[in-house]
C-alpha cells in the first residue's frame, strides 16, 4: 500500500511541477507579447507625431511670425513669440480692411455651397431614380467634366462671362462653380445605398419626387450633405486664380487674392512678413473651424466615396 501511495504522490507532484512550469513559460510569452505590442505602438505614435508636426510646422511658424513686429526669420531665436499679436490682427482686419475680403470670400463660398447642393441634389435624384435613355452615358459625361477643372476652362469661361456682362460681378465668381461632378457622384453613391423599397413605397403611396427629395432623401442624407458642404466650402474658400482674373474691383475681391494685396501694402516700406502671416492665419481660420466642427460627417462622406 505505501508504495502505491508514494507513487500517487510522486505522479501528482510531477504533474503539478509540469503545470507550474507551463504557466510560468506561458506568463513569460504573454508579457513578452505585451512588451512587443507596446514597442510597436510607441514606434507608431512617434512616427505619427513626427509626420503631424512636419505638416503643421509651416502653419506654426506663420502663427508665430504673425505675433512679431517685422517678422523676418533668420535664426531659431527669431521663432520666439512676439508681443504684437493683437495689434497685428487689428491692423490687418480693420486698418487694412482685410475683413472685407474675408466677408466676400464667405458670401461667395456660402452661395456656391448652396447652389451646388441644389443643382447636385436634383441631378443625383434624376440619375438615381428616373429611367431615361442613355442614363449611364449621361452620368459618365458628368464624371468626364472632372477632367476639365476651372483653370482649364479659363479662356472660354472668361469670354463667356464678360460677354454675358457678368465680368467683375459677384455672379462671375459663383455661377461657374455651381455644377459639381464630385458632389453629384457622392450623392449618387449615397442615394444608391438607400433601399429601393423606400422609393417604391413612396411611388405606390403617391408621394411626388420633390416631396420625396425634401422629406425623405435630404433628411436621410444629412451627414453626407454636411460632409460635402464642408469640402465644397473649403474648395471655394481657397479659390485664387479665377477671382484674380475676373474681378478687378478691390471691393469685390476675395481673401486669397486679398493676401497678395496685404503684401503689396507691406512692400511700400519695410517688408512686413508679419502682416502677410497674420492674413494667412486669418484666412485659415474659417475652414479650420468647419473641419473641426464637422469632422465626423466628413469621415462618413469619405467612406461613401470609397464605395
Amino acid at each position: 500500500m505505501p508504495t502505491t501511495e508514494d507513487n500517487m504522490l510522486g505522479s501528482l507532484l510531477t504533474a503539478l511541477t509540469a503545470a507550474a512550469e507551463r504557466s510560468r513559460s506561458a506568463g513569460r510569452t504573454t508579457s513578452e507579447r505585451i512588451r512587443r505590442f507596446e514597442t510597436e505602438q510607441l514606434t507608431l505614435h512617434v512616427l505619427a507625431a513626427t509626420v503631424v508636426f512636419l505638416i503643421v510646422l509651416p502653419v506654426l511658424i506663420a502663427a508665430l511670425v504673425s505675433t512679431k513686429r517685422a517678422g523676418i526669420v533668420t535664426s531659431i531665436g527669431d521663432l520666439v513669440p512676439g508681443g504684437h499679436a493683437l495689434s497685428n490682427y487689428r491692423r490687418a482686419l480693420i486698418g487694412l480692411e482685410f475683413w472685407r475680403f474675408m466677408l466676400n470670400s464667405f458670401v461667395m463660398s456660402v452661395a456656391v455651397v448652396v447652389g451646388k447642393l441644389i443643382v447636385s441634389l436634383l441631378a443625383a435624384l434624376v440619375i438615381v431614380y428616373y429611367r431615361f435613355p442613355y442614363k449611364n452615358a449621361v452620368f459618365l459625361f458628368i464624371l468626364f467634366t472632372l477632367l476639365l477643372p476651372v483653370p482649364v476652362r479659363f479662356v472660354p469661361l472668361y469670354r463667356l462671362t464678360t460677354e454675358l456682362g457678368m465680368g467683375n460681378t459677384f455672379f462671375a465668381i459663383t455661377v461657374p462653380y455651381l455644377a459639381s461632378a464630385t458632389t453629384v457622384f457622392i450623392l449618387r453613391q449615397h442615394f444608391l445605398s438607400i433601399p429601393a423599397s423606400l422609393v417604391e413605397t413612396a411611388k405606390v403611396d403617391g408621394v411626388g419626387p420633390l416631396r420625396f427629395l425634401w422629406s425623405v432623401l435630404i433628411p436621410m442624407s444629412r451627414a453626407v450633405l454636411v460632409g460635402v458642404s464642408v469640402i465644397m466650402f473649403v474648395y471655394t474658400w481657397n479659390q485664387y486664380l479665377w477671382p484674380l482674373v475676373i474681378i478687378n474691383a478691390e471691393s469685390l475681391q476675395v481673401a486669397q487674392v486679398g493676401l497678395n494685396l496685404l503684401r503689396g501694402q507691406a512692400s511700400t516700406g519695410e517688408v512686413a512678413w508679419s502682416m502677410v502671416m497674420t492674413g494667412s492665419i486669418l484666412t485659415l481660420l474659417p475652414p479650420l473651424a468647419l473641419l473641426v466642427l464637422f469632422r465626423r460627417q466628413l469621415l462618413e462622406t469619405f467612406t461613401i466615396q470609397q464605395k
Binding site: 433601399p195 413605397t201 411611388k203 405606390v204 403611396d205 403617391g206 408621394v207 425623405v216 436621410m220
Partner: protein, 379 residues
C-alpha cells in the same frame, strides 16, 4: 376591394424573360398567395400588379378598369415589403401618415380616424412616437402594415412581409394577417417562398416556376391533386417521393412495377393511357408506413438514415437504386441498415409523365370523381 385579372402578361428584362405570358384571375376579396422558388417570377408578377414594373406584353385589369401602364399611385394599391421600407428618420406615426398626406386625397380628420382605427387593430397605439430604429422587427412590420391599412386600398400587395422575422414571430404574425384579412376582406396578393405561409394564409395558392404558373388551387387540392411534378415536389415537406415505375395491366387491375415492388393502383382516370408505359410514381412520405409483417402488398426496403422528429420518425430508405423518405410512427424500433417491409396507402398515389412532368393519374380521384372536372388553371 376589387378583382384583379392578368391576361397573357409577359415581362422581359434586357432579354431575360421573368414572367412568361401568364393568365391569372383573382376574385374580389380573396387572399391569394403566390409561391415558388427564388427567381420564379413571383415578385415580378406582384410588381407588375403594383405598377412598379410595366408589362412587356399583356394586360392587367382591376375591377372593370385596365391599369396596364397606369402609374402605381393611380392604381389604389398598398404594398408591404420584406424589409418593411419604413423611413428611418420619421416616427411610426409619420411613417403611417406620410403617404396619405402626400397624396392629398384625405382630410386631416379622416387621417386621424384611420390611423386610430388601424393602430388599434394592430396594437401599436403606444409605439407611434418611436422611430423605426427603436422598434423590434415585429413592431416594424406592424407599422408597415398600418401604413398599408390606413389608405384603405382596393388591393393589398405583400412581398414576403414575414421573411425577416424569426420563426416564432412569423407564426404569430401569420395568424394576425389571416385575422386582418377576415376583418377587412380586402383583396390581398401575398408573395412568399415559404410553402407553409402560402398554404396557411391563402384561400387560393398560385404556384410559379420559371416564369410560368404551374397551378392555381386551394391549399388542400394543391396538396392532394398536384397537376405537375414540380408542384408535387414543391408543396409538402419532405417532398413527395418519385419512383420510376412501369405500369402493367392485367384485365381491369393495374400495378406500378419497380425492380423490387409491385404496388396496386386503384382505378381512376388516366390509368388506361398510362398502361404499358413508364411513369413516375408519386408517394407522399406519410402515405408509406412500416408493416408489422411482410405480405403481398408490402415491399422490402433498407433504412439508410433515421431522423426522430418527436411526433414522427422520418426514415430515409432505399429500395433497389431508388431512394425515398417516409414518416413512420414515433419510437419505431429501426436503425440505419435495418431491412423493413413497407406498405402504401394506395388511395394517395400519383403518376407523372417522366418527360413532361405532368400529372397523369391521381388515385384519390377514384374516391371523388367530381373533383377532376373543377381543376382549371384559373381560380
Amino acid at each position: 376591394m376589387t378583382d384583379v385579372t392578368l391576361q397573357d402578361v409577359r415581362k422581359e428584362f434586357d432579354g431575360v424573360v421573368a414572367v412568361k405570358n401568364i393568365d391569372l384571375q383573382i376574385p374580389d376579396g380573396a387572399f391569394v398567395t403566390v409561391v415558388g422558388p427564388s427567381g420564379c417570377g413571383k415578385s415580378t408578377t406582384l410588381r407588375l400588379i403594383a405598377g412598379l414594373e410595366q408589362a412587356t406584353e399583356g394586360t392587367i385589369q382591376m375591377g372593370n378598369q385596365e391599369v396596364t401602364g397606369v402609374e402605381p399611385k393611380d392604381r389604389d394599391v398598398s404594398m408591404v415589403f420584406q424589409n418593411y421600407a419604413l423611413y428611418p428618420h420619421m416616427t411610426a406615426r409619420r411613417n403611417i401618415t406620410f403617404g396619405m398626406k402626400s397624396a392629398g386625397d384625405f382630410s386631416d380628420e379622416e387621417i386621424d380616424r384611420q390611423v386610430e382605427e388601424a393602430t388599434a387593430v394592430l396594437d401599436i397605439d403606444d409605439l407611434l412616437d418611436r422611430k423605426p430604429g427603436e422598434l423590434s422587427g415585429g413592431e416594424r412590420q406592424r407599422v408597415a402594415l398600418g401604413r398599408a391599412l390606413v389608405r384603405d386600398p382596393e388591393v393589398f400587395l405583400m412581398d414576403e412581409p414575414l421573411s425577416n422575422l424569426d420563426a416564432k414571430l412569423r407564426i404569430k404574425m401569420r395568424a394576425e394577417l389571416a385575422k386582418l384579412h377576415s376583418e377587412f376582406e380586402t383583396t390581398t396578393i401575398y408573395v412568399t417562398h415559404d410553402q407553409t405561409e402560402a398554404m396557411t394564409l391563402g384561400d387560393r395558392v398560385v404556384v410559379m416556376n420559371d416564369g410560368r404558373i404551374q397551378q392555381v388551387d386551394s391549399p388542400q387540392r394543391l396538396y392532394d391533386y398536384p397537376e405537375t411534378r414540380f408542384v408535387a415536389e414543391f408543396i409538402g415537406d419532405p417532398a413527395m417521393n418519385m419512383l420510376s415505375v412501369d405500369i402493367s395491366r392485367d384485365g381491369t387491375e393495374y400495378e406500378a412495377v419497380g425492380p423490387t415492388f409491385r404496388i396496386p393502383l386503384p382505378e381512376a382516370d388516366g390509368l388506361e393511357t398510362a398502361a404499358g408505359a413508364q411513369a413516375l410514381l408519386g408517394i407522399r412520405p406519410e402515405s408509406l408506413s412500416v408493416a408489422d409483417s411482410a405480405d403481398r402488398s408490402s415491399f422490402p426496403a433498407e433504412v439508410t438514415v433515421t431522423e426522430p422528429l418527436g411526433d414522427s420518425l422520418l426514415l430515409e430508405c432505399r429500395t433497389g437504386d431508388q431512394e425515398f423518405k417516409l414518416h413512420a410512427e414515433p419510437r419505431t424500433a429501426v436503425e440505419p441498415g435495418d431491412r423493413v417491409a413497407l406498405t402504401v396507402e394506395t388511395e394517395r398515389l400519383h403518376l407523372f409523365d417522366p418527360q413532361t412532368g405532368e400529372a397523369i393519374y391521381h388515385a384519390a380521384a377514384a374516391q371523388s370523381p367530381e373533383v377532376t372536372s373543377t381543376v382549371d388553371s384559373t381560380i
